[in-house]
């Protein structure tokens, strides 16, 4: 069954893998199929829609007119992008510090930084909720803020919280890349007269770039995918896509949501293919 070289798959393992892939993809196919549904309630597939100038893409055109969904999608993308930017920057800095330097309180720092990984999201979510309610309540009453001026949950609280739970994953990813790093190339740069910043920009960063990029992608994925922490830290005007769909699930989810998910998956697919193509070319 197992070939002597230790590689290659038997028909049995291939079949098993195919079944697991099937399990992973059936829901995705259903999601895409139902974006072409004739029925608005989207409970039963009543055949392919063919209405208006858009024909089979009727729900995709409807989607462009649905401001609620579009705003939710925009919020989600803004949050994920800013989260990725902040958490990749801070995470890379911290990874370099933890991997390369010794400093006072290093062990404690490591413990604090990795805690989010072993904390259930709901515990972190309600902790942050309790924290912001207390701080905002205190500031609002201290400064006598009323009405629209009151501090409340919104995009900022979501982004700040997303950064907190994505940073550990960025640090882990970048550190993994730093492990095999030969410090002598940095010394060479310094011997040749480069200052620390130039050394970092021209030598260190290009070498750890794949790790930083992988960390950024991980942060982006985790932020896009998050529901629980967003749920506890969002406020009026900061509805994200998951929060929007969660609200709809109690009533009717129209095929517009399926249309959006389809566009979403296809765009990520294309982006990753481009990324892989660039990586292979290098």
């Amino acid at each position: 069954m197992i070939s002597r070289s230790g590689s290659g798959n038997t028909r049995f393992t291939t079949a098993m893998a195919f079944l697991v892939y099937l399990f992973l993809y059936v829901p995705i196919f259903v999601l895409i199929l139902y974006s072409f549904n004739e029925s608005r309630t989207n409970i039963v597939f009543e055949g392919f829609v063919n209405r208006g100038p858009c024909g089979p893409f009727y729900w995709y055109c409807q989607l462009l007119r649905n401001d609620d969904v579009l705003e939710a999608a925009r919020n989600t993308l803004i949050i994920a992008s800013l989260t990725t930017l902040i958490s990749t920057t801070l995470g890379t800095m911290a990874a370099i510090a933890l991997q390369r330097y010794g400093f006072f309180g290093k062990r404690v720092s490591e413990g604090a930084i990795y805690t989010p990984i072993v904390t259930p999201e709901i515990v972190m979510g309600i902790g942050i909720l309790v924290f912001f309610s207390a701080v905002f309540g205190w500031i609002n009453s201290a400064l006598g803020l009323t009405g629209g001026n009151r501090l409340s949950m919104g995009m900022t609280t979501i982004i700040v919280s997303h950064v907190a739970f994505t940073i550990p994953f960025v640090i882990l990813t970048v550190r993994a890349r730093l492990v095999g790093f030969d410090p002598s190339v940095e010394e060479a740069a310094k011997d040749l007269g480069a200052n620390e910043w130039t050394t970092f920009r021209r030598v260190t960063l290009p070498i750890i770039a794949p790790g930083v990029l992988a960390g950024a992608m991980l942060a982006f994925t985790l932020s896009l995918d998050d529901f629980i922490i967003t749920f506890f830290t969002s406020g009026p005007g900061s509805t994200t896509l998951p929060i929007y769909v969660y609200g709809l699930l109690r009533r009717i989810v129209t095929p517009e949501v399926n249309a959006l998910s389809t566009i979403w998956i296809l765009s990520v697919f294309v982006l990753v293919l481009i990324y892989q193509w660039i990586e292979r070319r290098d």
Binding site: L24, Q99, G102, F103, V160, R175, I228, V268
Partner: protein
């Protein structure tokens, strides 16, 4: 990839006075890590501290928190009430634990064959196979659960397919209510967290030297014995890491049970969420949250001690 946590002070050929000072005080390292530390202090440590303080508090009639010191909330969770023993909340916690174990076992059973397949695939195809594992994650947690609602509901895809097959065989078929149910919750959980087990198991399988398989074969081991004595033990670190990445989110989630369980399946996550939103009892919710955190820490510590620290988590 094990992460080297040893201090590695860079020793440049020419040390300036400034270099030596920075090295000795570790100022530079500390400055680099301090924004992250501040972030963790404000959004993790202080919030957890506040949750602990709140869990010893009470609420007034309007749902506001009164900060006192009472063990009432914890007593209630453990079933001790003025009216006698009430195991309601203990049962919820037990149900959450059982579901988390069931999910983890099913996820391992599904993830292992796929990770094994990818690790043994030709090198140039592995990244595309791994990529295919990640694609479902790019929809969204909620969208994926919604997809399962479409599949499992009474008039959904699964009943449609079974009905069609039954029709071909000339049999009658009454659609089954797969959703909402405890089974639907289990399927949803397994689906949501499967990729988090596939990746770490793959990482440890991929590291096994082919020489070991050759040695096993030379020593007369058959395929099954090679698997049990070589492959499986060497992939344990991956399974440990995967178990932590799956078990912890599963035990704390409330969305899957909320939607696929149709409010019949109440887990610790649902209990906590309702105390904050519907029941307006933050102290009780905080106490439940702290108990969940303690359960998680006990599990993680026991598990990592028993099976070794999941270096696959640390090594990404």
């Amino acid at each position: 990839m094990a992460v080297d946590t040893q201090l590695q002070p860079a020793t440049p050929a020419k040390q300036t006075w400034g270099d030596r000072l920075r090295e000795r005080t570790g100022l530079q390292g500390f400055l680099l890590v301090s924004p992250t530390l501040l972030w963790m202090l404000l959004l993790l440590i202080i919030p957890l501290g506040l949750t602990i303080i709140t869990s010893f508090g009470q609420r007034d009639a309007d749902g506001n928190v009164i900060y006192t010191f009472t063990l009432e909330n914890y007593a209630r969770l453990l079933g001790i009430t003025p009216e006698g023993f009430d195991p309601l909340y203990m049962r919820i916690m037990w149900r959450s634990l059982v579901l988390a174990f069931q999910t983890t076992i099913l996820v391992i059973l599904l993830a292992y064959p796929l990770a094994y397949f990818i690790a043994r695939a030709p090198q140039q195809r592995r990244s595309i196979y791994l990529f295919l594992v990640l694609v479902p994650l790019w929809t969204n947690f909620i969208i994926r659960i919604y997809a399962w609602v479409m599949i499992l509901r009474n008039q959904g895809v699964l009943n449609g397919v079974i009905g069609w097959i039954a029709g071909l065989l000339g049999m009658d078929y009454t659609p089954i209510d797969f959703y909402p149910s405890q089974g639907a919750v289990l399927v949803g959980m397994v689906y949501e967290f499967l990729p988090f087990m596939i990746l770490p198991i793959y990482t440890s399988l991929e590291k096994i030297e082919p020489v070991l398989y050759e040695a096993a074969a030379d020593l007369g081991a058959n395929a099954w014995r090679t698997f049990l004595r070589v492959t499986l033990p060497l992939s344990l670190p991956g399974m440990t890491a995967g178990t932590i990445l799956v078990f912890i989110p599963v035990i704390g989630t409330f969305v899957v049970s909320d939607i696929l369980g149709g409010r019949q399946v109440i887990l610790v996550g649902n209990l906590i969420q309702r105390q904050f939103l519907d029941a307006r009892n933050p102290p009780f919710g905080s106490a439940a949250s702290i108990i969940l955190m303690v359960l998680t820490l006990i599990f993680t510590l026991y598990y990592t001690r028993r099976f070794g620290f999941g270096e696959e988590i640390r090594g990404g």
